[in-house]
Symmetry: C2
Subunit: 190 residues, 2 copies
Amino acid sequence: MSRWEPEARERLVRAALDLFSEQGYDSTTVAEIAERAGLTKSTFFRYFPDKREVLAAGQDTLCKLIEEGIAAAPVSASPLEAVAAALDAASTAFVPERRDLGERMEAAIAASSELQERDALKRLGLTNAFAKALENRGVDDMTASLAAELGVLALKRAQSDWSKSANPTAFREIAHQSLKELRTANSKLS
Amino acid sequence: MSRWEPEARERLVRAALDLFSEQGYDSTTVAEIAERAGLTKSTFFRYFPDKREVLAAGQDTLCKLIEEGIAAAPVSASPLEAVAAALDAASTAFVPERRDLGERMEAAIAASSELQERDALKRLGLTNAFAKALENRGVDDMTASLAAELGVLALKRAQSDWSKSANPTAFREIAHQSLKELRTANSKLS
């Protein structure tokens, strides 16, 4: 075990995204990802079941933060206020050091149908995390589903804006801005 | 070619869903699906690239109907009125003879992670169809995304209610009821 081991997961993600963009997702092997990260194949498999799952790195953490954020919102909070609390909690996962990963991940997804599929599944997982946590607060399932979609749209939009913004702004601020814009959009629906 | 050929696609879907529920998705082969449908493997592959794609049967048609419905809505229609027009158009795909397929498809999806994945992708495809058609009408992308999510939620809810309803009601009516309920839920968000 190398002394870098604690950062192994992040190094594997970076190595994978580099290789996906250099030579394409399909022609990249797990062995190459491990080598680029300076690790072994068996270390890779300790973190990910296959190369596709690199894309889902952090999904469990994000779902957990969303659930905790919603559970911790005041009893009086409306569904969208609870969603805002979830975005606050989720913001802790978006540290400045990872700001460069977003665009590379988007590029990798855009270039591979297999990754688009994994991304669709990730999105569904996030939606379910929002919806279930809201239902646990007694929100009816239709309102919960709708609020969950707004939460995921705000999160996705914020992720994209955050990674692209010229001057680094805190993720939390960007996420709240996205939610505010979605509320405005919502008033233009009918 | 048998004289049943024109219905081959539908027979393959029914045979696949029967086998998925009897013996599970993983242990069902394309050869078995074809045999149950009274067709050959090569006929199967004329309609579907693999057994997973059976789940996506009708997706292209549905996307096309959604796009056409939105494009044909009056210029003065609001985003949600355009979504309602898409649901009207989509309703033509839900003929009474297929009402029994919904529950069987839901059961198959619930039992297989591979099918859940395909379903997530299908959902994303439908969302994109709504959103792009709305953007083509000049709706800004955020409002279009939001209206698209409402459209898919209404469609999914209607599909589920339609296949489960004790007395057969026209899909169109159920879809409009779902959209109405979503509008009500939307007013409870903030």
